[in-house]
């Protein structure tokens, strides 16, 4: 076991949750998502993001529309579907529960 692996395992769990929550706030373009996550100090590679988005889209949680861009090829703007919204609220509940539990256990709550 090394520390990097454990840390990345931890981060992996919340990636989808974070991406969904960014999209939930409004239509998003992949590099917007990257920027927002970077701003929150959560680094993610674009090469990791695209497959994730495609998978979520294929699972009907996301949908997208093409938007013409003046700098390069047209862009895909992603938004949440109803199914995606339901999935997100479930994830949110799980996260709340988990966060509470972790805080309680690690004794940071008080």
């Amino acid at each position: 076991m090394n520390i990097d692996n454990t840390a990345s395992q931890m981060r992996k769990g919340v990636l989808e949750f974070c991406i969904l929550s960014i999209i939930k706030m409004g239509e998003a373009y992949p590099s917007d998502i990257i920027d927002k996550m970077k701003a929150a100090n959560l680094n993610i590679l674009e090469g990791t993001l695209y497959p994730l988005l495609t998978r979520l889209k294929n699972a009907d949680f996301l949908t997208y529309r093409w938007v013409e861009s003046n700098s390069g090829p047209p862009r895909k703007y992603f938004s949440l579907t109803e199914k995606g919204a339901a999935f997100y609220s479930e994830l949110e509940a799980t996260w709340q529960q988990l966060a509470n539990a972790v805080e309680e256990i690690t004794g940071k709550k008080n």
Partner: protein
């Protein structure tokens, strides 16, 4: 200084340095491989590409004239290399090794290198036939070309292939981790870079390969003095230098040249990102440790997995048995079709090759057939272009097909076709020119050979100096050419006929014949035939072959010898005169001239080495069998022998002399009687032996019985004594 090229990237024209383009191509290829298992892999790649396109446009808008290595590297760093993805997020890590999810979940820890339990699949993505070879190659991480060539070369390859095709499951997600490919090395080249490329593939000094290619040349030079025109000692085993030369040419055509940087890196075995090699080495090392530890757990899991899998498959099969059945039929048909196609192709190739070998073998003889100048040139053209080009072409095609090298330049194909057409032209020209030279036959006039003593009662015809014509080479033998040395070839075109002599003495007639471009030419050639003969006592020695030298050329020279045998004289033609003609027949043949001897009623069939007697009504053997019927007679005799019925059929011999046959059958009967006697005595002998055995056995039996009786008596005596004693005791008690 760098070359800048324009590429169409995601619908935009992008000026980019050539080296950067290579980098980009390599990177996208690595992504494609990484995501090859993903369902939406094309979409993902497309998304990433369009993002890269966008970033390119950004740079260009900022005033950059073209995309440089730095730009591409920066973008790649941003988007990340496949090996970085594994660290990043969980789900994607499954991508390259789907099917190992169980493993990952079980340990709860996914290493960043790929360790998957290996299984043999057929590679559906990279297949020529069924993907068996590339599947095996990706199992062992080697270049599929090598596996394919091994399959073709080994005899049972086809059978094995079909079996594996049927039993190995297909998968379209195999990634061949081969990090090395066979290229020609343009940097270290001597001729075409073949040896250097092979050397760098196997990590050995190219001079070693070069030496291997050169050995045959060296030995060939040393042997030159001993090689007769037709002795091709080890043509098949490649020690004949043109063999290796041919191989070199074919390899030259087949192996692509490493032109780009990435190809050169591939050739040397380094994947463009060093990381992946490091990773795979580390993985190998860890893998061994891990494997040992996991062995037990895995075995259990495997069994469980297998069980459920089989269950599922059974269910699936039951559900879709209809379509599965259809698939099986389609597959079987496919196999059949490929098999038949393969057989036909193989037959064609073999025919082509044997044609090549035969024509190469015949080639030394061209001196004796072809006039110098044009005909010779046509012959060379035919050999090289008409026969050689397709041979090289077919081999090249097969190997290129195996190596899946897409022919990008059509020049090669067109030059092959062009050369072959040239070959056809040469071939036709050669045939036409030869046909012209063979067109006319010489005039036919029979001359008499002078005999020293024509009055002998028995004439034996034998060959002069017959060891002269021995075949001395045992590998390639061209029968009709009995013997040849440097400037003379002997052809066995001496035909002997037997006729009845009109007079009472032996006569020998000789007709010398030849073909030529016109009658005069043919006559000259015919008169140039040097045919020797002399008689000692009752033996007539004659040439059994005609000498053709380089100047005369072979134009169907032919000698017809007619032996006129007087009645009541005997004749014999030695076996060493066996007739072994060679003639080039063709449309140029004018038959009219030859008819006179073909349909001659007066000549007799005969066998070489048999003595015949000329009688008033024909030629007979000394046994009285007519010439030409010897085999019939012997056939009847055999039947006769089998029937063992001597008296029933003497009348069936139409030509036989009865007394002779009777004495023969008599002898046969006597022999049969003798045999019968021997058989009877043997029977008697056997019966006697049986009797003796029986006697001795019964004697043994008797003696055994006697012994048993004795033992029984001994057993009885104590009891009797006891009984007596008891009786006495009782008596004693009673007395008291």
């Amino acid at each position: 200084m760098k070359k800048v090229i324009n590429i169409n990237f995601q619908g935009m024209v992008v000026p980019i340095e050539e080296s950067s383009y290579e980098l980009l191509k390599e990177y996208i290829e690595s992504l494609r491989q990484y995501f090859s298992k993903e369902e939406g892999r094309n979409e993902i790649i497309n998304d990433i590409e369009s993002r890269i396109g966008e970033l390119f446009q950004e740079r260009l808008k900022k005033g950059a004239t073209c995309i440089t290595d730095d730009d591409v590297n920066a973008i790649i760093k941003n988007i990340g290399r496949p090996q970085d993805f594994d660290n990043e997020e969980g789900t994607a890590a499954e991508a390259p090794g789907a099917g190992t999810t169980a493993e990952g979940a079980q340990t709860g820890y996914k290493p960043n290198w790929e360790f998957r339990s290996r299984r043999l699949y057929r590679d559906e993505n990279n297949k020529i036939l069924g993907g068996v070879c590339s599947g095996i190659a990706s199992y062992f991480n080697i270049d599929p070309v090598i596996v394919r060539i091994l399959f073709i070369v080994s005899g049972i390859g086809l059978f094995m292939y079909v079996l594996l095709w049927i039993f190995v499951p297909g998968s379209n997600a195999l990634v061949n981790g081969v990090r090395r490919r066979l290229y020609r090395n343009p940097d270290g080249k001597f001729l075409g870079g073949v040896c250097s490329g092979i050397g760098s593939y196997f990590d050995i000094n190219p001079w070693l390969i070069r030496f291997l290619f050169l050995i045959p040349f060296i030995t060939f030079i040393f042997r030159w003095g001993h090689v007769g025109p037709l002795t091709f000692p080890h043509f098949i085993s490649f020690t004949f230098s043109p063999g290796t030369f041919l191989i070199y040419i074919i390899l030259w055509l087949v192996i692509p040249e490493a032109t780009t940087t990435s190809e050169k890196l591939e050739m040397k075995g380094e994947k463009v990102d060093i990381n992946s090699i490091k990773n795979s080495v580390v993985a190998e090392m860890k893998g061994v440790k891990e494997r040992v530890g996991k062995m037990g757990i895995e075995a259990g899991n495997y069994a469980k997995e297998k069980g459920t899998q089989i269950g599922q498959e059974m269910r699936y099969a039951a559900r879709s048995s209809g379509s599965a059945f259809g698939n099986v039929i389609v597959t079987i048909f496919k196999i059949f079709a490929y098999f038949i196609l393969g057989s036909v192709a193989l037959a064609l190739i073999v025919a082509l090759f044997s044609l090549a070998v035969v024509s190469i073998g015949l080639f030394p003889l061209k001196e004796f057939i072809l006039t110098n100048g044009w005909q010779s040139a046509y012959a060379w053209g035919t050999l090289i272009f008409f026969i050689g080009v397709p041979v090289v072409g077919v081999i090249t095609f097969i190997i290129r097909r195996l190596a899946r090298i897409k022919s990008t330049n059509r020049t090669m194909r067109y030059s092959f076709i062009g050369l072959w057409v040239l070959g056809i032209i040469c071939f036709i020209a050669l045939l036409a020119s030869l046909a012209n030279d063979f067109r006319r036959t010489s005039s036919l006039d029979e001359q008499k050979l002078a005999l020293t003593n024509a009055q002998v009662p028995f004439l034996n015809v034998s060959s002069i100096d017959n060891n002269r014509y021995h075949h001395y080479n045992n590998w390639l033998r061209f029968e009709p050419f009995a013997y040849f040395d440097d400037d003379t070839v002997y052809i066995g075109n001496v035909h002997i006929r037997i006729e009845k002599s009109p007079s009472d003495s032996f006569e020998v007639g000789i007709v010398k014949m030849s073909n030529g471009s016109d009658r005069r030419d043919a006559d000259t050639l015919a008169s140039q035939i040097n045919f020797r003969s002399y008689q000692t006592d009752s033996t007539l020695f004659i040439d059994r072959a005609i000498a053709i030298n380089i100047n005369d050329k072979f134009r169907n020279q032919y000698v017809e010898l007619t032996l006129y045998v007087p009645v009541n004289h005997r004749i014999r033609v030695d076996r060493n005169m066996l007739y072994n003609p060679i003639r080039f027949n063709g449309p140029w043949w004018d038959d009219n001239d030859r008819d006179w001897y073909r349909d001659n009623d007066y000549n007799f069939d005969f066998k070489y080495g048999e003595t015949y007697l000329m009688q008033q009504d024909g030629l007979y053997t000394l046994d009285g069998i007519p010439s030409g019927k010897e085999d019939d007679y012997r056939h009847n005799w055999d039947e006769e022998y089998n029937d063992n019925d001597i008296q029933s059929s003497p009348g069936t011999y139409r030509y036989g002399k009865p007394d002779k046959i009777d004495s023969l059958t008599e002898a046969k009967r006597r022999q049969m009687q003798k045999l019968q006697l021997t058989l009877d005595s043997l029977h008697e002998e056997q019966q006697k032996a049986d009797q003796r055995l029986k006697d001795s056995l019964s004697r043994v039996k008797d003696s055994l019985e006697q012994k048993i009786q004795k033992i029984d008596q001994k057993d009885h005596t104590p009891t009797q004594a006891y009984n007596q004693a008891e009786d006495r005791g009782v008596g004693f008690v009673m007395h008291i």
